[in-house]
Amino acid sequence: MGYEPLVQQNPLRVLNMGRENNQMGLVMARAGLGKTALLVQIALDAILRGKRVIHVSIGETIEKTKSWYDDILQLILQEHSVNRPHELIDMVARHRMIMTFKVAAFTRSRLEERLNDLVLQDIFRPNCLIVDGFDFETTDREALEDIKNLMESMNMQAWFSAIHHRGDSRISPTGVPAPCHEIDDLFDMIILLKPEHDATIQLDIIRNYGAQVEGGKGLLLDPTTMMVKEM
């Protein structure tokens, strides 16, 4: 498709992403640090690699979610010269579907029903699921395992975002803060967003496909554009 340079130059390559399916990833941060921006960049990277992405937004509107993609895609187009940008924008639209749910309405059975609607009629066969706004505070281990099983049965990759509250000091032995400190073993990949003194935001990669990582991999979010950069 001619988008290989975009894929190869993406700093996210450090993360070994797209190696395998059936994996679950987690992005954690305090409110407002750029979780959604990072998830959207992960999704766009998957789309550029020819994957289809379902973006589940819990408690958000379709319009707002779509504008995240539009904005970040514009930034990518500004940085890299792409022949026929319209085709790229079109391609992204065809490889992405947004599903928004009310906070309480998102359950495994609902999700499964919706995914089946799409797959059985051959409307959309997703490879990657992005779940933004999932409420980890009120979810137990069982519910999450349930979703993990669903992902495995459908041969999909999934990425979640979780909010870590400033006052909550609970933390797992591997360094995963609350509210995910007791379920961190379910995730194959964990990224923590940490604000630095110079207003940049570091990507602290706690786990990279099973392997524990020390000291991250030297990625950060540009505080003005929220784009992932190498240090």
Binding site: I98, T100, Q121, I123
Partner: protein, 693 residues
């Protein structure tokens, strides 16, 4: 006559189709004593609601044109612009919004915020119209105004705060609790004329206290006095709360929510009180005009009746006595006998009759002050024109979308032919999104507009109001053609056999133009094409743009540059260079990879979640790109971008797929390239058609 502008309200009533807008307007006119009996929209008495002035609207039970009507309530004048609810008539809604100062957003207590409410809300935000929400139909089964209020917050992003609480719901709806005065209000009598105020029923006391706290919390942001009073826990005067709500509403940061049932005559008078209390008067709103003498610099209109007149003609209607022009004045006065100047055409007109409109009836007046909405007789203009006297200003131009669908129409006989042209002439003046022209090759009359229903309504009106019976062809999508790459051309037009010859040579290139339709660049040096023939080339290119070679659709998005050529001292002429340019364009166009573009519509389908799969399947089959789904309770909205060409007859498909439980709206989004397979078919059909002709 000088009026206190503080006591004028120009408001609109806007909502999703069938949420009871016309019924509400009817009740307002009744309580303000403009009419003396209530007729239902689909009433059995056969009279129909007063606001639906056109016969057709009565028949369909929908409101198409925004009639302006005037009434007075408690010493204040209210001009109501009734706006259509169907998205095909969006230009009408937008035009009405332009002249409003405030609006009432009506929502159905069962249906809640539906897609059309979202569109209307977006338009209101664009034109910065302060609004109050009225949750109607609280007497219906399944009514839940609390859910609707939450939707106003979630879906429309409004800071919606209930200022009333219903007493009972569905068939038990008795009245409402005023959370500011903390009183229960009931409506007695057959038509709800007698308002009875009582203490709040004991069973609702706690809930009312809690809701009042919520209300005070939300509005205290807008008033320091109120905030202080709350901190001191002293008695809070009602006026202080009203004032805070008004400030919040005017700043567009608060939307007070009221409840009621227009049909059951409950809550309408309180809504009128709220219109006076919270919606802006003309001087509260800043309107801007463009000064045509200063290169369209923005100027703020003064609202001062002593300044030169500035008025906007926002609606035309064809009445028995000629053209009726609805205007809104922004500053100055308009008086019978005045001379006013149309700033678009520069034409002077004399004001003959000035009237105040009430749906179908009218009242003669001598003059109208700044901020008023009145109608003029016998003024020739198009809607959207500005009238001035003393300055040369134009109210900022309104954004008019290009038509996306067209139909061929043919009058059945000679008489119909004459009536048809009269009707078309009128409609094009009334509605900038409605266009008409004659296709010279087929000599058919083509009408084009914003959707199937839009054109249907005009065909019906032709029949009813103008007695013009027409045969209607199949709807056609307005395709366009454009080029995708740069191409050179070098063409010589030569005809030098006998008599005066023709000679012209044009060289250069064409390239895609991202924004805009056509650009002509003259890069000729050394006079290889003489000055006087440059414009001939431009003309020739423009002629070529009218009809593409793939489907015969107009070509857009091309920049043509000429940089070479030659001429003959005797044989070169205007026409020779035009023909050379046409030849050159053809040559370049075929090399520039031309493609067909089609209109893409933004479609939203709403219905019960159980049908979501079927709905998505039907959209997918029609070459649609599904953007996303929105689930709430058992209700789902599917948003998609659909080619208009695939949407004909979709309402029937949708109805049978969902047992009539889903509905859809669509509006024009953009033009996109047609996929290869479809493009080939279109091209083949065009070739076949050419052969036939």
């Amino acid at each position: 006559m000088k009026k206190d502008l503080k006591k004028v309200r120009n408001i609109g009533i806007s909502a999703h189709i069938d949420s009871g807008k016309t019924t509400l307007t009817e009740r307002i006119l009744y309580y303000t004593q403009r009419i003396h009996a209530i007729h239902e929209v689909r009433g059995k008495d056969g009279v129909g609601a007063t606001m639906d002035s056109m016969e057709l609207e009565k028949e369909r039970g929908i409101t198409i044109q925004s009639a302006a009507t005037y009434c007075s309530w408690k010493d204040s004048d209210i001009n109501i612009i009734d706006t259509p609810g169907h998205v095909d008539f969006t230009i009408e809604v937008e035009r009405a919004l332009r002249v409003l100062d405030g609006a009432v957003l009506i929502l159905c207590s069962v249906g809640g915020v539906q897609s059309q409410s979202i569109t209307v809300n977006r338009q209101m935000t664009r034109y910065k119209v302060p609004r109050i929400a009225f949750i109607n139909k609280c007497d219906r089964t399944g009514a839940n105004p609390f859910r609707v209020t939450q939707q106003l917050r979630d879906k429309l992003d409004l800071n919606a705060v209930m200022i009333q609480l219903p007493i009972g719901l569905e068939s038990d709806l008795e009245g409402m609790i005023d959370l500011i005065a903390m009183k229960a209000v009931y409506f007695d009598g057959d038509q709800g004329d007698n308002i009875r105020i009582e203490e709040i029923p004991a069973r609702l006391r706690d809930e009312a206290e809690a809701k009042r706290e919520e209300l005070l919390d939300a509005v205290s942001m807008f008033s320091d006095e109120l905030m202080e009073a709350m901190l001191e826990e002293s008695e809070i005067p009602e006026a202080m709360i009203h004032d805070a709500i008004r400030r919040g509403t005017l700043s567009l940061e608060l939307t007070p929510v009221m409840v009621g049932s227009a049909y059951k005559n409950k809550g309408v008078q309180l809504l009128l009180d709220a219109v006076l209390a919270y919606l802006p008067c003309p001087t509260d709103v800043e309107n801007t005009a463009l000064d045509l003498d200063q290169g369209e610099a923005e100027v703020v209109v003064s609202n001062n009746p002593n300044d030169p007149l500035v008025a906007l003609a926002f609606k035309l209607e064809d009445g028995r006595y000629g053209q009726l022009t609805y205007i809104r004045t922004y500053q100055g006065m308009i008086q019978k006998g005045d001379t006013i100047i149309n700033s678009r055409t520069g034409k002077k007109s004399k004001v003959g009759r000035l009237v105040r409109m009430h749906a179908n009836e009218m009242e003669e007046i001598e003059s109208a002050g700044s901020g008023d909405i009145v109608a003029l007789f016998g003024i020739d203009c198009a809607s959207g024109d500005s009238f001035c006297n003393g300055v040369n200003w134009s109210m900022s131009s309104m954004h008019v979308p290009a038509p996306v669908i067209s139909l061929a129409i043919k009058p059945v006989d000679n008489k119909a032919q004459i009536n048809m042209s009269k009707a078309l002439n009128r409609f094009t003046k009334e509605d900038p999104t409605f266009k008409t022209f004659v296709d010279h090759e087929t000599s058919e009359t083509i009408i084009s507009g914003m959707g199937e229903l839009h054109l249907e309504v005009y065909i019906e009106r032709m029949k009813r109001e103008y007695n013009a019976e027409v045969e209607v062809g199949a709807p056609q999508v307005a395709y366009r053609e454009t080029i995708t790459q740069r191409a050179e051309f070098d063409y010589t037009h030569k005809k030098q056999t006998g008599g005066s010859g023709q000679y012209g040579k044009v060289g250069g290139f064409m390239e895609p133009l991202e924004e805009g339709e056509y650009e002509f660049v003259d890069a000729i040096v050394g006079g290889v094409i003489p000055r006087e023939f440059i414009s001939s080339c431009d003309k020739g290119f423009q002629k070529s743009m009218a009809k593409g070679t793939l489907t015969g659709a107009p070509i857009t998005g091309v920049r043509v540059t000429i940089n070479d050529g030659s001429y003959h001292a005797v044989d070169s002429s205007d026409i020779a260079f035009q023909l050379a340019a046409i030849g050159a364009f053809k040559q370049g166009y075929s090399k520039a990879m031309p493609v067909i573009m089609e209109p893409i519509m933004k479609v939203a389908v709403e219905g019960p979640s159980e049908f979501q799969g079927a709905v998505m399947g039907s959209l997918n089959q029609r070459r649609g790109v599904i953007i996303g789904t929105f689930e709430e309770g058992n209700y789902t909205v599917v948003e998609a971008e659909m080619p208009l060409a695939e949407m004909f007859g979709y309402s029937t498909t949708l109805r049978s797929l969902t047992q009539g439980k889903a509905e859809f709206t669509m509006e024009f989004a953009t033009y996109k390239q047609v996929p290869k397979g479809v493009a080939e078919e279109l091209h083949k059909a065009f070739e076949a058609q050419k052969k036939d002709a």
